[in-house]
């Protein structure tokens, strides 16, 4: 069973994000981390290949920088990485990203593609579905549970009311929610091994695909600010202030 996991290196969400003057693109520092949501995808992939063998390949698009985020996925146990890095891809929208990632995936034999439901820095939330459409395979999305059989995959798909059980043949794309599995922490051995694992670097010229029609950021303005109200220290009676406010708002 060969699993491809789509991952993304993102600026640490704990640091303030900044936009580049002129283009309004997100500034990506050299040191980027593995998007937390992708740890679930990597873990899922590892768990699916462990029983009967196979490979887990992580695929990522974006500036390599220090490569720390990709090494994180390799340190968890992924076998190898494919990185598409090309300055012409700066500011890519979801469809361009999907075309590029799908083209990189299409160069390999694969049974299953796993992705998070949306990235933490861009959150367009449509890239896995687009990849599936381009590859001509099903997109089983928002999975809270994933099981793979000989030539089929079955998931619990989150819905507004609860969940559906959804199945399809392979190959397929599955997008996983946080909590689908418990991601492992890299071991010391994993971190050392990751340094020796292969990272294949591709550019647009290797892929035979093209950018989607352009999307532009026309302007950015400050949102109307919401101002802070009263701040009190709890001296043991702070709950009374809350009760008073709820009563004033007529909700109790």
């Amino acid at each position: 069973m060969n699993v491809i996991v789509c991952i993304k290196q993102i600026p640490d969400p704990a640091t303030p994000y900044r936009l580049e003057e002129g283009t309004n693109w997100l500034i990506r520092p050299d040191e980027q981390i593995l998007d937390d949501t992708d740890r679930y995808g990597v873990e899922m992939g590892l768990q699916l290949v462990e029983p009967d063998g196979g490979t887990v390949t992580v695929v990522s698009m974006g500036p390599a920088g220090s490569g720390q985020g990709i090494r994180q996925a390799l340190a968890m146990g992924a076998d190898e990485a494919v990185l598409i890095e090309d300055s012409s891809l700066r500011g890519s929208d979801a469809l361009t990203t999907a075309r590029v990632v799908a083209a990189a995936i299409g160069r390999r034999e694969f049974d299953l593609v796993i992705a998070g439901t949306e990235s933490t820095d861009g959150y367009s939330g449509v890239v896995p579905q687009m990849i599936a459409e381009i590859l001509g395979v099903p997109a089983l999305t928002y999975a809270t549970k994933v099981e793979v059989a000989e030539d089929s995959v079955t998931i619990h798909r989150q819905t507004v009311a609860g969940y559906d059980v959804v199945s399809s043949g392979l190959p397929a794309v599955v997008s996983v929610t946080a909590g689908v599995v418990e991601p492992r922490y890299p071991t010391f051995k994993g971190i050392m091994d990751a340094k020796k694992k292969p990272i294949e670097t591709l550019s647009m010229g290797d892929l035979g695909t093209e950018r989607a029609p352009e999307q532009l950021v026309l302007s950015i303005v400050d949102a109307p600010e919401r101002t802070a109200g009263r701040k009190i220290e709890d001296d043991g009676d702070a709950h009374e202030a809350i009760v008073a406010l709820l009563a004033e708002r007529k909700v109790i």
């Binding site: 949501t37 999907a98 579905q129 687009m130 997109a139 798909r157 989607a212 026309l218 009760v243």
Partner: protein, 315 residues
């Protein structure tokens, strides 16, 4: 008039509230065709007409996973009807259909929009970015423009239109891309839903442990509120994904939002900052949540919440 397609999903025997919100915006922008996902009914068509739909394209795949076949059928139809705008919501099936439809048509998706305008052949969408502190206006160079709008961006409105013309769209065979829904589970849920409750009580990392979420649930029950959570504690597995409020979760705009042990990460603020009144309880006096709270309590949730629950019980 611009031709606007608005995606509306059927929930039970009614159109979803998100769909009705989108119809209000669609009607403002042009002639609306509602794309209804579901078995449909005369009552539903009447409601869609009342909310401004002039025509209905019904798509219903039964137990087929809708995204593949619906996107294929809509792509074919879009090539002949050439809608200027396809408006969907930031919701599960909407996202799946938008993504596949966009890839088929070779155009992008403008995601997470809080507003959309058609401007003499072009499109402009607003997006709250960086935790809602700034608003970016974006545009796409090629139509049909496919836009995903965040729930609660628009207000549903009955305008009393006539009965719409209803047409059923055949869903094509999509071969290997097909998925099947084999079971549907409705989870038992107590109390009001996150998107509709007038009070929301949410918990974050400051609760310290999964067990402490019980305090949030008890307060919620006392206030007949819906209970929510930050992404951090959803990721930590303390509560299910369905409770997540924020950029990658639900958007809520209740009368009162009570944030318990929530620091106020950008990802969370986007989902709740438009609540009418915000109460925050957090140990860290410098937590960003206090900058938007109407009442900020610097204190330990484990001390404040039990007293608050007790005080409410004795009222």
């Amino acid at each position: 008039m611009a031709a606007v397609w608005v995606f509306v999903e059927q929930e039970g025997d009614r159109p979803s509230s998100l769909g009705l919100e989108l119809l209000a915006k669609g009607r403002e922008l042009g002639d609306v065709t509602a794309v209804l996902l579901g078995p449909g009914s005369d009552d539903i068509y009447t409601t869609l007409g009342d909310h401004g739909a002039k025509a209905v394209l019904r798509v219903d795949g039964g137990d087929r996973l809708p995204s593949g076949p619906v996107a294929a059928a809509l792509a074919d139809r879009a090539r002949t009807d050439s809608p200027d705008l396809v408006l969907l919501g930031q919701a599960y099936n909407d996202r799946d259909i938008a993504g596949r439809l966009a890839a088929r048509l070779g155009v992008g998706v403008l995601s997470n929009a809080s507003d959309v305008r058609l401007t003499g052949g072009g499109v402009e969408t607003d997006h709250e970015i960086l935790g809602g502190s700034q608003i970016a206006t974006a545009s796409a160079s090629q139509g049909p423009y496919i836009v995903l709008a965040r729930p609660k961006s628009f207000v549903a409105e009955e305008v009393g239109g006539g009965a719409p013309a209803v047409e059923e769209l055949d869903l094509p065979d999509i071969g290997a891309a097909e998925g099947r829904i084999t079971e549907t589970h409705v989870e038992e849920r107590e109390g009001p839903q996150l998107g509709e409750a007038s009070i929301v009580v949410s918990g974050g990392r400051g609760l310290g442990s999964a067990d402490a979420y019980e305090l949030v649930e008890r307060l919620g029950k006392q206030l007949k509120a819906a209970t929510g959570a930050t992404r951090a504690i959803v990721d930590a597995g303390w509560v299910p994904y369905a409770k997540q409020v924020g950029q990658t979760g639900k958007t809520v705009k209740p009368e009162v939002y009570i944030a318990c042990g929530i620091s106020g990460a950008m990802q969370h603020l986007v989902g709740m900052k438009d609540s009418k009144t915000i109460v925050a309880i957090n140990k860290d006096a410098d937590a960003p949540i206090f900058s938007i709270a109407d009442l900020g309590v610097v204190g330990d949730v484990h001390k404040v919440l039990p007293k608050l629950i007790e005080a409410l019980e004795s009222r």
